[in-house]
């Protein structure tokens, strides 16, 4: 585990324009592990993630979002979101180094090339995102996230647009490279939660529910019986009337 990866705690209630979104709820994200937040669309998973990220200016949140080391979260997070969020006007290398550009820092091209090599895309450094497949684009997004080298990673259904094979390959790659960081992964896919979560929570209209994750190291094999059973259990729980 990275020594600088803190645990996160969110406590509170969220409203948008007086309309209740979620809460009151208490969510703990343990340090250096992957926590999956599973739930159907529209229960406020993304809102919760954006509140933690500090980019939600619309939601009225009463409560607290804290790190176990009592330091501010700002500048310690990286985001991988729905879709790859690559800038179509920059080449792959430009996308991987966009963080430095946005902060006005010098771009470390050698390090960016090493990150691209880690996701197997070193030969595509000068291609535009439009020339890549969906899986390749998502790997560029992972390289960009690794380039930021932050202890806290927020994942917002990053693989939902990929086909089943590519999705599980990205899960493997992500789990491998984000090991030791504090990861909060929002997903609507029970299979993803069962494979990826060291801890799993279900967020529904009625609140937050802790689920015991299946045994085995993350990422759990796609055909592991206990993982598949857990996936079935998660799906039944999602389907249960609120």
């Amino acid at each position: 585990m990275r020594p600088d990866a803190p645990a996160l705690t969110l406590d509170g209630t969220a409203r948008i324009g007086g309309l209740h979104v979620f809460g009151p709820l208490h969510l703990t994200v343990p340090a250096g592990r992957i926590t999956c937040l599973l739930g159907p669309s529209g229960v406020g998973k993304t809102t919760l993630l954006r509140l933690i990220a500090g980019v939600d200016d619309v939601t009225e949140f009463t409560g607290s979002i804290t790190a176990s080391d009592d330091r501010s979260l700002a500048g310690r997070m990286a985001l991988m979101a729905q879709g790859d969020l690559l800038m179509p006007w920059l080449d792959v290398l430009g996308n991987v180094t966009i963080g430095a550009r946005l902060r006005g820092e010098a771009r470390d091209r050698d390090r960016a090339m090493r990150m691209l090599a880690r996701v197997g895309l070193e030969d595509h450094a000068h291609k535009r995102p439009g020339a890549l497949s969906g899986g390749q684009k998502q790997r560029v997004a992972l390289a960009r996230t690794l380039m930021e080298d932050r202890p806290i990673i927020l994942l917002d259904e990053p693989f939902s647009a990929l086909d089943a094979r590519t999705r599980t390959q990205m899960q493997d790659l992500t789990a491998e490279h984000l090991k030791g960081r504090t990861v909060l992964m929002v997903t609507h896919d029970p299979a993803e939660a069962a494979r990826m979560g060291h801890a799993i929570h279900i967020l529904t209209e009625t609140g937050l529910e802790d689920v015991t994750p299946p045994p085995g190291t993350v990422p759990r094999p796609v055909d592991d019986p206990e993982t598949l059973t857990a996936q079935g259990r998660l799906l039944s729980r999602l389907r249960a009337p609120a």
Binding site: G54, V55, A81, L85, M87, W89, E148, L154
Partner: protein, 247 residues
């Protein structure tokens, strides 16, 4: 090749209709001259027409360049500052309620009979479409990109320069395409109100002296110029977007 055939056929059809109208309605040349006569005048007066066309082209191109720069900067300023939006946008909308034609005499009074009153007219007429197309695109940056930029620690100006502006360039390009069609209108209005050179001036002069064939020749040169300008701006925008932005 098929495109060339289409254009040739369509031009021939238009000329045939024009000639048919002249013949069937038995119109005298001082009301509507036929295409052959206009072509003859166009060739005979080519030096005169070209000289005036050069003046109009200069007015349009300078107006277009200034309009693109001013419109681009205004859109960025408005998008960057909520205060500017509250104070200046109502003014801009109000200014659009004033017919630009009505301003032409005042511009001539202020800037004289020369080139600059026409440049100002072209600029006025394209400023709003350029600004508003670019501004709308700047205000529509996908939220996810803005979130990503903020989490990465970008401040407002860098977010603007590295994400919002490149993402909005297609909008700016559509503004410029419109401007390429509007700018010649502005220059011609300016020339009608007061000028001693330019295609607009030549058309008024020819009309006054019942040289309708010369007027039509000037009009056709103006239309061809506007078409070519629109095509080149469109092509330049495409190449530029392929190179830099989300085309």
């Amino acid at each position: 090749m098929s495109r060339l055939i289409t254009i040739t056929t369509s031009t021939a059809l238009a000329l045939a209709l024009w000639q048919a109208l002249v013949v069937l309605a038995a119109l005298p040349p001082f009301i509507l001259p036929g295409p052959a006569r206009v072509a003859e005048t166009l060739w005979a007066s080519r030096a005169l027409i070209l000289e005036h066309a050069g003046i109009t082209a200069a007015e349009v191109l300078i107006g277009l360049a200034l309009g693109a720069i001013l419109g681009g900067l205004s859109a960025i300023g408005l998008a960057a500052s909520p205060l500017a939006r509250r104070l200046i946008r109502p003014m801009m909308v109000f200014s659009q309620a004033i017919p630009v034609f009505a301003l032409a005499p005042i511009l001539t009074l202020w800037l004289g009979y020369g080139l600059w009153s026409k440049v100002a007219m072209a600029l006025l007429i394209i400023y709003f479409p350029v600004t508003s197309a670019f501004f709308d695109a700047l205000m529509r940056t996908p939220q996810h990109w803005l979130d990503l930029g903020r989490i990465m620690g970008a401040n407002g100006p860098r977010l603007m320069w590295h994400i919002r502006v490149p993402a909005a360039l297609p909008g700016f390009a559509s503004g410029l395409r419109l401007a390429a069609v509007y700018a010649p209108i502005g220059a011609i209005i300016g020339e009608w109100v007061g000028a001693s050179k330019g295609l607009g001036y030549l058309m008024l002069l020819a009309n006054g002296r019942a040289k309708i064939d010369l007027m039509f020749a000037a009009l056709i040169v103006l239309a061809v110029f506007t078409l070519l300008l629109h095509m080149s701006v469109d092509r330049a925008c495409r190449r530029w977007l392929d190179g830099t932005a989300a085309g």
